[in-house]
């Protein structure tokens, strides 16, 4: 057996071993190309086509859709709102999620697994059912949330949650929380269990320990959580569609409406592609920034 392999021309063996990775990844690669790259390329092409109320889609190459998005302030407002909501959601999940992960990390055995399940809960329920649940809680002036806040004396008059950005941010933050908690939790797992004692023995108080020792070490976790939450919130569809309703649109619901209500597919494609590009730029940019910032300490 080995004699045969030894006498086989070396070039052929090398060629075979060079082909093997391609052959092995081919099925996945074909799927990737077939269901992602080709439709994506077609969407890009579509965004340059023309469209008219009576003539439908015309396969020509024009910049009409892109010019419309660039000049009409309606779209600027839409994208601004999308990223504002995503940013607020990210901030809320970071501010609440990071301490949540720290508390979770300190819990012991049974309680830890129970609360982990509670935190992962939102992911186990369909996003539509979950958002409709929030709609019920928000529901007008007599919604449970308003009643609770008023009985606690936090607000005097009912707040508007339905069809507002506030409502969207609250619902999105709830949906996205698990991603932030899990990401910070993973960073906490890597912490030396004695590190707090080390800081304590050197004379640091508990606030200093959190600020100077714990926080800097979980920041990479917060950052990667933030990237996940931001990109998922900015491209979220179901929650903005249900809480935001027909009037308060974000980029994803706008693209949907252009495709399925106005039937202006080329404009919808342009909106979708712009959202995708903006997200890729933001995610890749912040990732590079994080890597440079933490490369020295966390490689």
């Amino acid at each position: 057996m080995s004699a045969v392999a030894d006498t086989a021309p070396q070039g052929a063996a090398e060629e075979r071993s060079a082909r093997a990775p391609w052959a092995l990844t081919a099925p996945a690669l074909m799927l990737f190309v077939g269901v992602l790259l080709i439709p994506l390329a077609m969407t890009v092409m579509l965004s340059f086509h023309d469209w008219g109320q009576y003539k439908g889609i015309e396969p020509v190459f024009i910049l009409k859709n892109w010019r419309e998005i660039a000049t009409d302030l309606y779209y600027a407002e839409m994208f601004w709102r999308t990223f504002r909501i995503a940013l607020l959601t990210t901030l809320i999940t970071a501010v609440l999620g990071a301490p949540e992960a720290c508390i979770l990390n300190r819990m012991s055995g049974r309680w830890k697994s129970f609360f982990l399940l509670v935190i992962l809960g939102p992911l186990l329920i369909s996003v539509v059912a979950r958002t409709l649940g929030w709609a019920l809680l928000f529901g007008g002036n007599n919604g449970l949330v308003n009643k609770l806040l008023m009985s606690l004396g936090l607000i005097g008059t009912p707040l508007r949650f339905m069809f507002t950005e506030t409502g969207m941010v609250v619902a999105l933050a709830h949906v996205m929380m698990p991603f932030m908690v899990l990401s910070v939790w993973a960073a906490l797992q890597r912490l030396d269990p004695q590190i707090e004692n080390a800081a304590l023995s050197l004379g640091a108080g508990s606030l200093t320990i959190i600020r100077r020792i714990i926080m800097p070490q979980i920041m990479p976790g917060v950052m990667s959580g933030a990237i996940i939450v931001f990109s998922l919130s900015a491209s979220a569809f179901a929650t903005p569609a249900i809480i935001g309703g027909r009037r308060l649109k974000v980029a994803a619901t706008l693209a949907y409406d252009e495709f399925l209500n106005t039937l202006n597919w080329p404009l919808g494609a342009a909106v979708a592609i712009l959202l995708l590009m903006a997200l890729v730029l933001i995610v890749v940019g912040s990732n590079a920034l994080i890597e440079r910032r933490y490369a020295e300490a966390f490689r």
């Binding site: 030396d192 004695q194 004692n197 304590l200 023995s201 004379g203 300490a297």
Partner: protein, 346 residues
């Protein structure tokens, strides 16, 4: 007066007693080791001194003042952890400076003290390195510098060398001892490595199952072990069942064909314990047969089957011919190399 004093300290986790009736007086500048197998309570005791755990019973005093009432951040002790517990997001110099920052030491003095602390552990030129880019030995040195720079009243070392390879560990032992001598810092080392404890400490506290088995200098604990546990834990030893023969005019201590004048104060069956390097091959003594002979470079290790059970003998490789495997020999040792305990060895 003792510098650091532990007075009948005990620690209970639920129904389990982890440390019991631990009393120890440490002199100023002394190097003490807590030695014992894992789970013997040595780390728990260290953590009680550090303040990470509160003792269930007893008192801990530093220069006569109650230490338990002092918050761990205010105790001013230097601690080196087994995992080093360096701050990975700070450079070596920042790690060392942290304790000084917490003490509000002015910037210029801080820089000077950090510089000299890193120089002391031989890390000049590594100031701006992050811990993850340093070797285990270098991290160890940063941890030591960080603990010493605050000029601690007591230095606590929790198995600091156990993550290093053998060669480096030896070098670090020598260095640690030199630094400790130079600074004169009172030091407590927790270790399960008897060689480390013996080569570093002024006194060793041998612990087992939460209790102190013996406190003594390395030589005392090795040569006159107070219990079977100590004799077996510190180095290799041979335990032989022996009897006291009072039929003659003067009582004899007898183990097989070996005998010596019996010391006073013992009757009935006893256990004698002899270190393998104290046993020689002679014309008279315990009859034995050599089962295996292992060459170790500077010494020979013989495993023998004697009248009183298995025995090990260590002979210096001094160029003299040594008995071969299978050879019948007589094992002899001086009466003063025998340590005697009442009862029969298990």
């Amino acid at each position: 007066m003792a510098y650091l004093e532990l007075d009948q300290v005990g620690k209970q986790f639920g129904a389990q007693t982890v440390v019991d009736d631990f009393s120890l007086a440490v002199g100023k500048g002394e190097f003490i080791s807590f030695l014992g197998p894992s789970g013997c309570g040595k780390t728990t005791t260290l953590q009680m001194v550090a303040g990470f755990l509160d003792p269930t019973r007893g008192a801990i005093r530093l220069e006569g003042r109650d230490l338990i009432a002092v918050h761990p951040a205010r105790r001013g002790l230097g601690i080196v952890f087994q995992s080093y517990a360096l701050f990975p997001h700070m450079t070596a110099a920042e790690n060392v400076a942290f304790g000084l920052e917490m003490r509000k030491v002015p910037r210029t003095e801080r820089a000077e003290r950090v510089r000299s602390a890193l120089a002391m552990v031989g890390l000049v030129g590594y100031e701006d390195r992050h811990p993850r880019r340093m070797s285990g030995g270098q991290q160890q040195r940063v941890a030591l510098a960080r603990a010493l720079v605050i000029r601690p009243s007591v230095l606590l070392l929790d198995e600091p060398l156990s993550n290093l390879d053998a060669k480096l560990r030896e070098d670090m032992q020598i260095e640690l001892r030199q630094i400790q001598r130079t600074l004169g810092t009172t030091t407590i080392l927790v270790t399960h490595d008897q060689n480390e404890a013996m080569s570093l400490s002024d006194r060793i506290v041998v612990m087992s199952q939460g209790r102190i088995e013996q406190i003594g200098t390395p030589q005392e604990t090795y040569e006159r072990p107070a219990s079977a546990f100590v004799s077996q834990f510190l180095g290799k030893t041979n335990d032989f069942a022996a009897t006291i023969d009072r039929s003659a005019a003067s009582a004899r201590l007898v183990a097989g064909s070996w005998s010596a004048a019996a010391p006073a104060g013992f009757t009935g069956p006893v256990t004698i314990s002899v270190r393998p390097e104290r046993i020689g091959f002679g014309d008279a003594g315990l009859a034995a047969k050599i089962v295996t002979r292992i060459f170790q470079g500077n010494y020979w290790l013989f495993q023998c089957e004697s009248e009183c059970g298995p025995a090990i003998v260590i002979r210096q490789n001094d160029g003299q011919p040594q008995p071969a495997e299978g050879e019948a020999v007589r094992l002899a040792w001086r009466p003063e190399d025998t340590s005697l305990r009442a009862g029969v060895a298990e």
